[in-house]
Amino acid sequence: MHPAASVILFTTASGAGYGVLVLSPILLAFGILPADRWLGVALLAPALCLVTAGLLASTFHLGHPERAWRALSQWRSSWLSREGIMAIVTYGPAAAFGYAWIGLETASGGWAWTGIATATAAAATLFTTAMIYRSLKPIPAWATDWTIAGYLILGLLTGLIVITTVSSSFGFHPVRFQWLALALVVCAAIVKNAYWSRLAGTCRETEAMSGAAVGSDDGAITSIEWPHTEENYVLKEMGFRVARKHADRLRRATRNLLFVAPAIVFVVMPSLLPMPYLAWIAWPGAALVLVGVVLERWLFFAEARHVVTLYYGAS
């Protein structure tokens, strides 16, 4: 699949933003994060900026962005529509939660419900994003629950990296951040490895369908003439072929940036470094992870093979 920059930016930026919106109410409720006004500003402002920037980025690739409001109408059947609605709905509890944290410096009592609602709505938004891809049968690489697990876990991981980096700059880094980072990095590594190890099998299954694609079970099908001399829309959008050639190298880079780098910077280093220095390495560490998640998302699209490529004899 063609890896459109707008969709990659949308899913990674909003993923990290929703990750913050899922985790920060929970961390606040368990007293792991303090209900400090300025920490609230420093966390919720970038989270809402990431989410909003992501949503705006997702409209860049539309042919008619001015009609984007129509995309909220078909929630009965369309995961894309459901995602748009959930993304907008999440602003409601997030605003109330932000008011409690920043305005009242509290997350207890009745205000705890705003946190629960924010975390639930943000997690539901991540889920609906994943379901857009999960539900596309012609892209067998995506048609697996590992796709859902990947979007959720990477949203949480990048969200935690944002929370850790910002709060360590406030001189605040509890040891439980390390344990949470360790758990999320391990889960993310398991999920992505499972996704990748399944991928080769889906390519073989797709190739086995080349006869069924053209209604022939007489033998091996070789494409000898395309209907067009140049690439058409179908090939440009769904016949992306560069990534599969370099898949191993790019996956290695993704693993290093997305799993190894945060394991060193956010799991091991906090035990070795005193506080002020930790904040200094957290920012470059977070930058590495964000590059890693962009690379992961680029591969998610570029590696995924659409069944329509069968018609062009791609293998």
């Binding site: 009609r67 009965r76 007489d218 099908i221 018609y311």
Partner: protein
């Protein structure tokens, strides 16, 4: 509304005969000709005569070589267009309601005034039937010539899709595949009409008739034997053949 109708009154569609199709591209050309002025007009072309020529087409004809396990091979011309599926995921994924399947005849259409050009429907189609018009910013697709088949300004025999009307070998047939007694349904049954990619579960309306088996003297491993001009001669011709061979 992008929910699919529970049931359509008719299932209008095509039956395409892969045995008869010669890959002449006439259906492709007449489709473009009609539809660039039809319901989804225009079918924009970009750089039509320059490098990187591109444009919107609803019908594409591929050519394949099919190599059989016994070492034989044959050419397959394969026209590819919208199959107007019963479980059309291109419709259900549409977030705006621009894509819809008609309850009356099962035709899958796009309302261009509602389309935001998100392209998700083209991702949901395993057959590559939808093509995006970058100039107009909307998705376009085969309409089964909805503006021909009900068009009372045309003579009755012309009220068929442009591709069917123009096919010089009669490889394309149009009709109601929901009616088991219709000519197209009967043809599909007689010739073992196939669904493309049934694994996908889209239940396409259009059927493809597989190529017939080759005649016995045309099959076999490797290239066909060269014709021997005098083999099989009988009577006087056989006697002349023998005499001339001996004289040579």
């Amino acid at each position: 509304m992008t929910c699919l109708p529970q049931k359509t009154d008719r299932k209008l569609g095509l039956v395409i005969d892969l045995d008869t199709c010669v890959g002449c591209q006439a259906c492709v050309t007449n489709c473009k000709e009609w539809n660039t002025g039809g319901h989804m007009a225009p079918l924009t072309d970009v750089q039509p005569f320059g490098p990187g020529a591109d444009g919107v087409w609803f019908n594409r004809v591929h050519t394949y070589e099919v190599a059989t396990p016994d070492g034989d091979s044959r050419t397959l011309h394969f026209p590819r267009s919208c199959l107007h599926c019963e479980d059309a995921a291109c419709v259900t994924v549409c977030p705006t309601g621009a894509s819809y399947k008609r309850a009356a005849d099962g035709i899958v259409l796009v309302n261009e005034d509602k389309c935001i050009g998100c392209k998700l429907c083209s991702w949901a189609c395993p057959y590559g039937a939808r093509e995006y018009d970058a100039t107009e910013g909307v998705m376009k697709k085969c309409t089964l010539c909805v503006d021909r088949i009900y068009n009372e300004n045309l003579d009755e025999e012309d009220r068929v899709p442009a591709c069917v009307l123009t096919c010089p070998t009669g490889a394309r047939h149009f009709g109601d595949l929901g009616d088991p007694d219709s000519a197209v349904s009967q043809l599909a049954v007689q010739r073992g009409g196939k669904d493309l990619l049934p694994e996908m579960g889209y239940r396409p309306t259009n059927k493809y008739l597989p190529q017939r088996a080759k005649a016995d003297h045309q099959t076999g491993a490797g290239p066909l034997a060269p014709l021997d001009e005098t083999a099989g001669a009988t009577g006087v011709l056989a006697w002349v053949d023998r005499m001339l061979t001996r004289a040579g």
